[in-house]
Subunit: 148 residues, 4 copies
């Protein structure tokens, strides 16, 4: 039962990584729309897939052996229009700034050409043992600096 043909994956479009996410019942609330905190889940899934696309897909290994992880320090989310059940969204991810241990990412949550939610995330690369920020690996920085 090979699943290569149905493995979920994103792709680069210019300097942006894009990843598709379908809206299920679990994502919605009694207001009939997607619950506001869940857009941050979609954003995180897309950041993780971006890392995987760049060759850093072994988060579990990095977490258990090297004890490193990205931790979010700041989020700004601008909600323009709601997504609903069955929507097929595309979430983008683009690095707009990088300095030492910190990366700032701009993410758009879109339905077709409409931006429903815009998310700006500042994440820090952290050594979990020492609980302190560490310079991001050079090869990761290089790969994230994707230019059109």
């Amino acid at each position: 039962m090979s699943c290569d043909d149905i493995t979920p994956r994103g792709k680069m479009v210019g300097s942006k990584f894009i990843f598709p996410i379908r809206i299920y019942y679990e994502d919605t609330d009694a207001g009939g729309v997607v619950y506001y905190a869940n857009y941050l889940r979609f954003a995180e899934r897309t950041r993780t897939e971006f890392l995987r696309h760049l060759g850093f897909g072994n988060q579990q290994e990095i977490l258990e052996k090297d004890r490193f992880a990205f931790m979010v320090r700041h989020v700004e989310a601008d909600y323009r229009a709601p997504a609903v059940l069955d929507d097929l969204l595309t979430i983008t991810c683009e690095m707009i700034e990088q300095k030492g241990a910190t990366a700032t990412l701009l993410q758009e949550i879109k339905r077709g050409e409409d931006v429903l939610v815009e998310v700006k995330v500042k994440a820090v690369y952290v050594n979990l043992e020492k609980r302190r920020p560490m310079r991001m690996p050079c090869d990761l920085i290089e790969k994230m600096k994707v230019l059109p």
Copy 2:
């Protein structure tokens, strides 16, 4: 920005529908494995994609206009081994019984050939206005009775 090539979708393998699901941070807990309730989310996503595959993908429309939905009446979940961060699982869905308003589905949550969790779900087709079970549409029954 067309996304046809990266739209998440499953496929039929014999009488089973299979759908791939990747494990993200949001799915795991501090024990280092997937939180036990979240496997039911994966099962539901797969049932929804099974319906979509059979041509019943417009749940939002059915919900809002016709006011119908499947409601789960009974679940049995057998947890054999845990999934962890980054795992790419395949979830199966097979109808093993259908009678009037009720469908019983057997679902396996697998990593490679290993069944991590087996889920048996009894779902009822319900008219949300009258809050009572209704016979499932004939064309839906016919399509769910997939034979190898």
Copy 3:
């Protein structure tokens, strides 16, 4: 089996409403800390309890009959330190601005005296049928303007 004595409720401390939230497995992730999107859930629970405390606890009724709900337009979250399993947090909620259909709330997610996450939320009172903002009810505005 009366539960009045164990019903979860918050209280006012000066101009701030405070509500206690315990951290369970479901709130954490494989990194060993609370998943970043879940703090927004805690913030929303606290806003809802604030409304209930002010006498507007019937959200289900307002949603179904009057078809009104608060919708979040903008969120800023500043993550300073992580919460972990078993933590008993207190979440505050204070209205810092109100204008027409819009209320801006400042919320602190605290463990003891430490602010772990600061959340600023701009919410709009929306008529769900017409899908447009409506002036907040006067008695709600009056009650939210709590002064020490």
Copy 4:
């Protein structure tokens, strides 16, 4: 800002531990009711509070230092009626069987006197390092065997 008076806690009623849970937007879905997997979250919160009530509230410490945790092996959930937004539920927890590393718990999710969902959970006490079941501590067994 002491919160002793608003700390969420349950209580024993005969041989059953009961814990109150309020339904928020995050718990519901677009069908207007609580999403089926979320009842398992409520059940787990109540089991955790039951342990805390018995003096085993330091799950984080047990997890990090002793590397022990309860893992769910089997769940049966019978859904009779749905909960909705704003509902104040009481969840019960009663040990109905205990043998070596395994405890079987019966849990009722109630609104007033109505049982909305009945959940039967078989949990195993596991050493996370060795990834194998270990006999539950005697003092824990003694305390869980609460009799009216």
